[in-house]
């Protein structure tokens, strides 16, 4: 038995695929930003906050890093409305909102751990120097610890961002029509299952490469300039 590849039927739905692609992009960027803000705040609290707050953040991070995203997604999409009902609340999140929320808290937990490692990578003597100049605790964190900390963990954060983009495909399971979700639709209408998934496989691959290119360019632009030019590096040993 030989199989005839027919991409025509799939390409006929290009518009649907483009919508899905754009939603994937939107989810990635939005949850990336929310996750970054969440991760930053939680990492600072986890490192410098009062003990109860530190424990709370640690619990959040461990729970979300040690359970599958799919379970978290189902708990938010199906589970929260259920317990809401028992308290008399009628809240039914749309698949999109539930997906956005689940992705954000999930990536937030990972970002917290990464940024926390960055905060710890800044040497204690930097803090002493800043405190000796009379800076407040918050100023020390904001101006002396965070910039080099974020710089140190930028590579880890950017590969986490790519994983986040790939991970958005899972929200198709609760029928969010991002790229994988639209592929599910198209293959069920056209019966061109293999062609459909092969096509989005290529699209995801290309998107991952483009995102990596952009993230590397940002690194070269904003982080690379701190590296000394070769001549000056030599001078440091002179």
């Amino acid at each position: 038995m030989t199989y005839q590849f027919q991409f025509g039927a799939v390409f006929a739905r290009a518009e649907l695929l483009i919508d899905g692609f754009l939603l994937t992009l939107q989810l990635t960027v939005l949850t990336g930003l929310i996750g970054l803000i969440l991760g930053l705040s939680c990492a600072v609290i986890r490192t410098y906050g009062p003990r109860p707050a530190r424990m709370a953040v640690a619990t959040y991070v461990e729970i979300f890093r040690n359970t599958p995203f799919l379970v978290q997604l189902f708990l938010i999409f199906f589970g929260i409305p259920e317990i809401g009902k028992t308290f008399g609340l009628r809240w039914l999140p749309s698949p999109y909102m539930a997906g956005l929320a689940a992705l954000s808290v999930n990536i937030g937990a990972y970002a917290t751990e990464i940024i926390r490692a960055g905060l710890q990578s800044v040497h204690r003597s930097q803090v002493e120097a800043a405190e000796s100049l009379g800076l407040t605790r918050w100023q020390v964190i904001r101006y002396v610890i965070l910039p080099p900390a974020l710089r140190n963990v930028y590579p880890a954060l950017s590969s986490e961002f790519i994983l986040l983009m790939l991970g958005t495909s899972v929200v198709s399971v609760i029928s969010v029509e991002e790229l994988t979700g639209t592929a599910n639709l198209i293959q069920s209408e056209t019966y061109r299952t293999f062609e459909t998934y092969a096509l989005i496989w290529v699209i995801y691959f290309a998107l991952a490469l483009v995102l990596k290119g952009i993230l590397d360019a940002i690194a070269a632009r904003f982080i690379g300039r701190q590296k000394p030019p070769p001549a000056a590096a030599g001078a440091a040993h002179a």
Binding site: Y3, P68, L75, F205
Partner: protein, 217 residues
């Protein structure tokens, strides 16, 4: 409609076996493949390195869910009727091989260059150098991130449910369809996953701390 009870918890635990089998198969087979890829990647052959890199990036830069769909539905069209377990296992094996290859490649490269030179100077063959000198040293560094990846693999095995394999996640979905008490059902599943993953996470961290101490001292 019946209510979520102890029988259902028992059923979830039975299904957890399959989560474990799936993870172990993916880890062992994917690990063997990954180790071979890592060695090829750090070897001298540019052709071999290029091929390995194409394989690795194909699975690293695309969603696991789409990989599973492609394998499950896609191969079916060519006359292979893959049972869900096999499709899921093949998908996770490929996925694990790609990530483990890159993790282990990093560990191999972190063994200082002088070690290669010293072994080379003793007239060891390239394979002897790898097997007797480099891999034992790389292994120590590799343990924490490898255990960390195992946790990731357990979590991602839940996606096998989407292609119809009955493991923990799919069992939970089935019970939810019967009871419609999603909070209890999925919370129970989450707790089981947590009990599988958290000890491994702690173990990975302990190895990491030990490594920190020994490399600093």
């Amino acid at each position: 409609m019946r209510s979520f009870g102890l029988n259902d918890v028992w059923y979830l635990l039975i299904a957890t076996q399959w989560t474990i089998y799936l993870t172990v198969v993916a880890f062992l087979v994917g690990g063997a493949l990954g180790l071979w890829l890592a060695v090829v990647r750090t070897g001298g052959s540019r052709f071999g390195n290029g091929l390995a890199l194409v394989w690795i990036r194909s699975f690293q830069n695309t969603p696991l869910l789409v990989q599973l769909f492609l394998i499950y539905y896609g191969l079916g069209l060519f006359g292979f009727r893959l049972p869900p377990f096999v499709a899921a296992a093949v998908g996770l094996i490929c996925y694990a091989s790609a990530f483990l290859a890159e993790i282990w490649r990093g560990c191999i490269l972190s063994v200082p260059r002088q070690q290669w030179e010293a072994a080379d100077a003793l007239a060891l063959t390239p394979w002897q150098i790898r097997w007797y000198v480099i891999l034992p040293q790389a292994l120590r560094i590799a343990i924490p991130p490898t255990v960390g990846f195992l946790v990731k693999l357990i979590k991602n095995s839940s996606l096998a449910s989407v292609v119809g394999m009955t493991e923990l996640m799919r069992a939970a979905t089935a019970i939810n369809n019967a009871t419609y008490q999603p909070f209890k059902v999925f919370l129970c599943a989450a707790i089981i996953y947590f009990l599988l993953c958290f000890p491994l996470t702690m173990l990975s961290r302990r190895f990491e701390r030990q490594l920190d101490v020994s490399t600093r001292g």
